[in-house]
């Protein structure tokens, strides 16, 4: 499986070989694949999404049964022992966490971190004001707010996440730029549009129809866009 360059770049200066690792928010398992390729002793791939868990198991877990455990679990309540993990990754995770959830996830990740644990947080800087994709993400968030009372996406500046984890006892190690600009491809935009469409199903017709019409117009107008920055922060747990 091809490991994205963002993952290999974020991990290349971390001591992965022989480490017990946790991929928080496993997505499709790209970071788990990167951790295994970098000779991790064991990788816990944790996601609260059953489809993602199944995808990671299919793509990575089957070939690496001895080194991989795919866990369908809430990141705010991990089924892992305290002080048990050497390397934690959160690759593209924080942007799908609300501020309240982010705080609770940070607390839980800190609980499972062993002394000297390395944390790698990769995410997106808030998009510039003139980015076309901002409108699409705003619409996705509008649907999520109308349906569930909270946004789907929040782009946290790197400095803010550094301060958040510092408050939990983590020491800043380094920051690097993974992508500049960030390529928001048709595939990415279509995935975000699908989230908005699914959410809109729960809205009354008079709200749903104009939102969906705007959504389709936006997706067609944007096509794809390369804009913004993806960063990688590395921190160390000293407690």
């Amino acid at each position: 499986m091809d490991v994205p360059t963002t993952v290999t770049t974020a991990l290349e200066d971390r001591p992965i070989a022989g480490a017990t690792c946790l991929e928080a928010g496993a997505g499709v398992g790209n970071t788990t694949a990167g951790l295994l390729a970098a000779d991790a002793a064991r990788v816990y791939a944790v996601t609260n999404d059953a489809n993602h868990a199944s995808t990671v198991s299919e793509r990575v877990g089957r070939r690496e049964v001895d080194r991989t455990a795919v866990l369908e679990a809430d990141l705010r309540d991990l089924p892992l022992a305290s002080n048990s993990v050497d390397v934690i990754t959160a690759h593209g995770l924080c942007n799908v966490l609300t501020p309240q959830a982010l705080e609770r996830v940070a607390t839980e990740l800190t609980r499972v971190a062993a002394a000297g644990c390395h944390l790698v947080v990769d995410d997106y800087e808030p998009l510039p004001a003139d980015a076309a994709v901002r409108e699409l993400f705003a619409l996705e968030n509008a649907v999520a707010e109308l349906v569930g009372g909270r946004p789907h996406l929040t782009f946290y500046p790197a400095t803010m996440l550094r301060r958040l984890f510092a408050g939990h006892g983590w020491t800043f190690d380094r920051e690097r730029t993974l992508l500049d600009p960030v390529p928001w491809t048709r595939r990415h935009l279509e995935a975000h549009a699908a989230v908005a469409r699914a959410g809109a199903e729960e809205l009354p017709t008079e709200l749903r129809e104009p939102l969906l019409a705007d959504l389709e117009d936006l997706v067609a107008a944007i096509g794809e866009e390369s804009v913004g920055e993806m960063y990688s922060i590395a921190m160390r747990f000293s407690d």
Binding site: T5, T6, T9, L178, L179, D180, S226
Partner: protein, 294 residues
């Protein structure tokens, strides 16, 4: 235009090499104008082959007018001594010149070809003889085939001075050995071998001939090229910033001026931008490695 040392040949090649296959699709007057354009932009390294239609013949007049300004690469697909010797003589005649700066094994695809080339009565004997006679200055090899075979060629040809192979963000985003041209680049650097990048502008394979008949393709390339100024520039910048000595233009003459422009304005590409391009194209198909069955 930037220049870089071509391995240990002693020649500094411009960051773009003119792939003279483009001349094949032009009449003589247009071919002459294209060579003048390329030279006017500062290009000092040309590459041609006898298999590029009549490109050698069309290059000849301007090559000889500007012979001292041009470091000429030529190549042969012959694998044995007699064949390679005969092709070299034929190329010299068609190019109307008495020497070629860089003579290359063209399009290595199979293990058995490497056996023949490096064996007794193999093509390399003819190359070395020509080098001793002063007809050829340097020996190179080109391939758009399996990177592992190219690595093996480096191991087996001690006097190899240049390599020509694919490099673009689509192949750079694929982790398997079949696309690991970066390993070739790394190894070539270690060995002091000059590196020339091809397929930098490949967008992907053409649609099937059912979908798009060969006669309806808008470009002469055997793969579909990128063709907007922005795409050409980012592809050039990617290839040129990957550590190659020089990047060769796409073969279709309609694209050459855009590529020259990108090469003239090249000022590097940082790692975050390179990764951005790789990730944007992650799901694209690569036309290389490919065996063209010549």
């Amino acid at each position: 235009m930037q220049t870089r040392p071509l391995g240990e040949t002693g020649h500094d090649s411009t960051v773009m090499t003119f792939g003279a296959i483009a001349l094949n699709w032009l009449e003589q007057e247009g071919a002459d104008q294209m060579v003048e354009l390329v030279l006017d932009r500062g290009i000092n390294h040309f590459d041609v082959a006898p298999t590029y239609g009549d490109a050698e013949v069309k290059l000849a007049p301007k090559l000889n007018q500007h012979r001292e300004e041009i470091f000429l690469g030529c190549k042969t697909q012959e694998r044995d001594y007699e064949g390679a010797k005969a092709k070299l003589e034929a190329s010299l005649e068609r190019l109307e010149t008495d020497h070629i700066e860089l003579y290359q094994v063209h399009g290595l695809e199979y293990e058995h070809e490497l056996e023949t080339i490096t064996g007794e009565d193999g093509a390399l004997e003819a190359f070395r003889e020509a080098k001793e006679d002063g007809v050829v200055d340097h020996i190179g090899l080109t391939s758009h085939g399996n990177p592992q075979l190219i690595l093996e060629a480096i191991d087996r040809i001690d006097d190899l001075e240049t390599l020509m192979f694919p490099m673009n963000p689509v192949v750079a985003g694929k982790d398997d050995d079949d696309h690991d041209y970066e390993a070739v680049l790394e190894r070539a650097d270690e060995e002091g071998i000059g590196t020339l990048g091809i397929k930098a502008f490949a967008k992907g394979p053409w649609p099937s001939t059912d979908e798009l008949p060969e006669a309806d393709r808008p470009y002469a390339n055997w793969y579909e090229p990128v063709d907007t100024p922005a795409e050409i520039e980012e592809r050039f910048d990617f290839a040129a910033s990957s550590g190659l000595t020089s990047v060769i233009n796409a073969g279709d003459p309609k694209l050459v001026a855009m590529i020259l422009d990108a090469a003239s304005r090249y000022d590097g590409m940082d790692e975050a931008a390179r990764r951005s391009l790789i990730e944007r194209l992650r799901h694209e198909e690569s036309p290389v490695p490919e065996q063209l069955h010549h």
